[in-house]
Subunit: 279 residues, 2 copies
């Protein structure tokens, strides 16, 4: 039985009769293919990536598992529609804290149409992309059984400025209530720090991006996830995954300097929060 | 006695009655200040940089020494004009091989005017900046006493595509004549490689750019220099310097992800040439 995911924080959502992703009980995530070249690009990416023997195993772990495509009843009731069958990254979580961070100061690319370029350029300027090299596209952070999740709405997130990004990255790993002015960053050392924390994982990705010239990941996101309960017990299990490959193009022998620059900027933010320590 | 520099490869030149930089016999380079905010920004940069105690010594070596400003007779005969007094980076060279590489896939910045942005955007697309994260702005490579320098003209350099960039970076460290189709890269290991070769110096800069949030170096160049005679004797003395700070702005607590991304792309090119070895 397919159902609408509970913990999606960005992207098209299968609510109110709209077309969006679905999940099942076996840990799979069904993402409807976009009808235009975005759909074909995303299939092409997952296919190439799965068969490419140059991708080291230590890097494959940062990508969702891919199980092909399948026609399925679309969530908008429009009948059969091709879906990507992916790993449901959230399926093992109870109360996932999730942040979707779109990487790159530029979400467009030379091969795109002039209209698309100008539209992206405007959005990149309005959001923090141009300034920071990344923007937060959506997030939810579990607070407690009583207050549930802190999940600022899409419109608010899209208006985030640099200060909001700082405070959201801190709030994401804090234990004090959102009503407190200053997030306490109490879980930063467990979630962001440590030998396999978020920072370490981002640094692994960075090392790969300094070298790989296979793909350019335009408009792609880093998804950061952890479970507050286990983090409070000192066990991180935090995960970094790359998602959204509808604008991936051939690297043509050049590194993805746009993604790499943005990733380094995010790394600097996370490092700073770790250095500042708990408030 | 001031004179026109012999080995300038890019930028405004003081020839044919135009306004451009001058040098003296004591190793100083006099750069006329541009009258608009570019001039004031460049003075501001050199002043801030000179007095900033946060810049490590290992990084200061990559910047020209600054000796203040001074009104001087302009090279275009227009009378007294304010000049920056800088170190003449070439003064100790006999036959300098020099390459000017403008770093960043984007030479514009959010604070600039819409006209300026669209103009830069067009140029970045036409040149290799957008694709590679850098472009070659000018170069000369010493060949021999008989044939002198290989110095492709400005127009040719501005039309360089990715293949031209590859071959120029190889040709720059080759000993065989330009008439040979394949540059032999015979000096790559001495000039690009080694513990204080170009690659090592670029990696030092990269480490700083991963951390520094003081300046954003928009439209700034890396100047690479070496002397062929000593390189052929196995002694590199190759130097990397950053130049052109008319578009430097305050980093506002964020790393310069645009410069860093482009620098990493250049590093990858140089590393590849070293890996390929001599043809």
């Amino acid at each position: 039985m397919l159902k609408i995911p509970d913990h999606q924080v960005a992207g098209h959502q299968a609510r109110d009769g709209k077309l969006g992703p679905l999940i099942d009980d076996s840990g799979r995530f069904y993402k409807p293919l976009q009808n235009d070249e975005r759909g074909s690009r995303e299939v092409a990416f997952y296919t190439c990536f799965s068969f490419n023997t140059e991708i080291p195993d230590r890097i494959c772990r940062y990508f969702p598992l891919f199980h092909g495509t399948q026609p399925l009843e679309a969530s908008d009731g429009s009948g059969l529609h091709a879906h990507l069958i992916l790993e449901d990254l959230i399926s093992t979580h109870v109360h996932p804290s999730v942040m979707d961070i779109k990487i790159g100061s530029r979400t467009w690319y030379p091969q795109a149409s002039e209209d698309y370029i100008q539209n992206c350029l405007r959005k990149d300027k309005e959001a923090t992309s141009l300034q920071l090299g990344f923007r937060i596209s959506g997030l939810q952070a579990y607070e407690s059984a009583e207050s549930g999740f802190w999940k600022p709405d899409k419109k608010l997130v899209s208006s985030f400025d640099v200060e909001d990004v700082w405070s959201s990255l801190k709030r994401f790993v804090s234990s004090n209530p959102v009503s407190d002015v200053e997030p306490d960053s109490s879980l930063a050392s467990v979630v962001y720090g440590g030998s396999d924390g978020i920072l370490a994982q981002l640094l692994n990705l960075k090392a790969w991006f300094e070298d790989q010239t296979i793909f350019h990941f335009n408009s792609c996101s880093v998804l950061v996830m952890y479970e507050k309960k286990t983090a409070k017990e000192g066990i991180s299990q935090a995960k970094v995954k790359l998602i959204d490959f509808a604008h991936v193009v051939d690297g043509q022998g050049v590194i993805d300097h746009n993604f790499l620059g943005g990733l380094c900027s995010l790394i600097k933010f996370i490092s700073e929060i770790l250095t500042q320590g708990t408030v």
